[in-house]
Symmetry: C2
Subunit: 426 residues, 2 copies
């Protein structure tokens, strides 16, 4: 019997003009318009799955083009067929004999893979009537492992080792979060102070500051924030790839007195050996290195772990090849005993990644030591099931699926370039 055959895939270019207010600004991305390539798949029984990948404006149309190229590999397949050999389906998308050339497994084509597979995972979870994290937590470990493509990582983690990972069962009251909403690079000191005060009142204890454009400015801002939040709360700093290796070490050393827990993205996201050198130099200062939001696949994460090049793994739900590839990274991080602190923010990244970090906590790490998930308080109102934050914790989502579904009215208003919001701005 033909059940749940995917008969249609649509993809839309949806952009929010966030650059108008300097939300999301950092040392390298000075004018981001938070955007998504938004995918909807539909089955012959009228069921829908929603997926997206995050972008920051121009170039979203290229990702849309890539999703369209992948859609031929999805449409016509049944959900059962896909999940009965999800590893095979993953490889079909990532190792197409012609399309892999323009990756492989990186950049535009990997972002498109993420958007498409996010929709497939959403459909799967919905068809089981569960939120995604619950689908994962309750899945037979062998089934779960069969979703992962182990190609190129068997020297760090074999399928057998992955199966041996303890899949403990426990559920607590939400997952600790930190906030990046207070200190974007483009914000004034006045605004920064106000946002800090508000956040402290709301129960936030962990704060991230953007740095890297100007050292004097960074010293002033870090000093200000440390003063605002006190010695007992946690401060992290984020350079968004601004520096070369030597420069990163010098610059961060100058900011050491403000006691940041980590420096995030000090240099090129591709520079494993560079991050290792920075980690080594900063360890005596008690500052760790965090990276991952632009780490493009499991092979890169493998090496970051092998080389002790990071002390915090920042997975991203939309950069890697969806849940499948994130599972591989979570399991490797566990083996190498490095905490996972997901990247979030943007559009929908919080909604999606909360499922992955809940799974990590319940079934893999069973620990909250040095673990927390980024939170940014923007654009959640455009989602059908927005994140719920209570006392600086992510509360486990209850609705079936992967929390990707956007309000149709939001999609239409923000579609680029024909949506109302963009027409007005032209």
């Amino acid at each position: 019997k033909m059940t749940k055959t995917i008969i249609k895939l649509t993809v839309r270019d949806v952009r929010f003009p966030t650059s108008l207010e300097q939300h999301g600004s950092d040392a390298m991305h000075t004018d981001p318009d938070y955007s998504v390539a938004y995918v909807v798949i539909e089955t012959d029984q009228g069921m829908q799955g929603y997926g997206l990948t995050f972008t920051v404006g121009r170039g979203t149309e290229i990702v849309v083009c890539a999703v369209e190229a992948l859609s031929a590999l999805v449409v016509g397949k049944s959900l059962e067929e896909i999940v009965s050999d999800f590893r095979g389906f993953y490889r079909l998308l990532t190792s197409d004999g012609q399309m892999r050339w323009i990756g492989p497994e990186k950049g535009v084509i990997q972002l498109a893979t993420a958007a498409v597979l996010n929709a497939v995972w959403d459909l799967w979870a919905r068809s089981e009537g569960k939120p995604l994290w619950k689908l994962l937590v309750e899945m037979d470990p062998r089934k779960l492992i069969s979703c992962i493509d182990f190609r190129y990582i068997t020297d760090a983690l074999t399928e057998e080792e992955a199966l041996g990972t303890s899949l403990d069962q426990m559920l607590k009251e939400g997952y600790p979060a930190y906030t990046t909403s207070c200190a974007w690079l483009g914000y004034s000191d006045q605004l920064l102070k106000q946002l800090c005060t508000d956040a402290l009142n709301d129960g936030w204890t962990k704060f991230k500051v953007k740095v890297g454009a100007d050292l004097k400015d960074d010293i002033r801002r870090c000093s200000l924030i440390r003063q605002m939040i006190g010695a007992h709360n946690t401060l992290m700093i984020d350079a968004n790839q601004r520096w070369d290796v030597g420069e990163a070490i010098t610059w961060v050393t100058r900011l050491a007195e403000y006691k940041p827990l980590w420096i995030e993205e000090p240099t090129s996201p591709d520079d494993i050996l560079g991050h290792a050198a920075i980690s080594k130099a900063l360890a005596p200062l008690g500052i760790g290195v965090a990276t991952g939001e632009q780490c493009h696949n499991r092979v890169m994460f493998k090496q970051f772990l092998q080389a002790s090049a990071l002390q915090f793994v920042q997975i991203d739900s939309c950069r890697l090849g969806s849940v499948n590839e994130n599972l591989a990274v979570l399991l490797m991080a566990h083996k190498f005993k490095v905490p996972v602190c997901p990247h979030a923010g943007g559009v929908g990244l919080c909604e999606l990644v909360q499922h992955l970090i809940l799974f990590d906590y319940i079934s893999v790490s069973a620990s909250l030591d040095n673990r927390m998930c980024e939170f940014v308080d923007h654009l959640h109102q455009h989602f059908r099931s927005p994140v719920v934050i209570q006392n600086a914790h992510y509360m486990p989502p209850k609705d079936p699926g992967y929390s990707c579904e956007m309000l149709e009215s939001s999609v239409q208003t923000h579609q680029y370039p024909q949506g109302q919001v963009w027409k007005k701005l032209q």
Copy 2:
């Protein structure tokens, strides 16, 4: 005075149905249709520059879309303006505050950057009336260095060190080539024997064989070719990323008796530490590791060199950010004393990369030890100034420019999907 302002950029999707005859087939790319995103820029004075990047069929339309996204950064600029701060222009393209998110400097967006900048370099060389290699060789070293973006590589090579590189002046009679035309994976033994015999008669002494799909098959083919070419000629093997790290070591060890000079692309092109482990394991067998055709930027090459992860650097004229980024890699390879043996073949890769390797020989390495450039004898007839091979050597091109210009009739016949060739195949 406004001279040579670029007023127009066009890009076309041009594909050759090479998969019909198994040209170019390997363990991972089983049905390549050699293709290009073909760029033409035009100045207000009617001068044209031609550029391309190479792809293998499906997905070319995504690269075309990316080129279109970049074109706004090029059109309206004058050639003088660009080359007076080429580093700045390079960074404008690769570090656009919004578009860098979908790379950065990798995959589709970097391929598009290559196509666009290849056209700019072609225009520059034409406007000086010189073939590109000559433009480079005769350029003031400071000017040359000012084309390179040193961001993220200063821990391996500083601008000052690069300037210290001896820019010797000497010109010989052509650059040694090796052939990959004889032993694609999809060829029969009969065809392979015939092609070997022909190549030996034409003076070829260095041969590359595709391996990695089936060990028994590889043993038979390597044995056959070694027998055909004799002990004195050179054999290289190429797995096109088929293996995991351990598998690569085991497999290549089984082929060691056929004395390959190198194993090319044994595993993921992103796996620096994996290549280092393979290099270490194979060194006692006298087999080097070669990689680079899918190495996506200078940061990755830097680490391959730092980690002794390769013994042959295979630059690609269309994967990296054009001449600018290739210059960075040539200079780093020189500093680390590793020979450069460019990747070529495809469509136009031989035409382009010959300029770079001539420059490397004349101005950087001044050596032919363990150096040679790949050659594949396909599709040259579609170019205005095709490569000239004499006695297995690339003869220095004489026409002005970067040898990117295709015959307009070839472009029109092969444009996808509306060209005659593709209409017939539908």
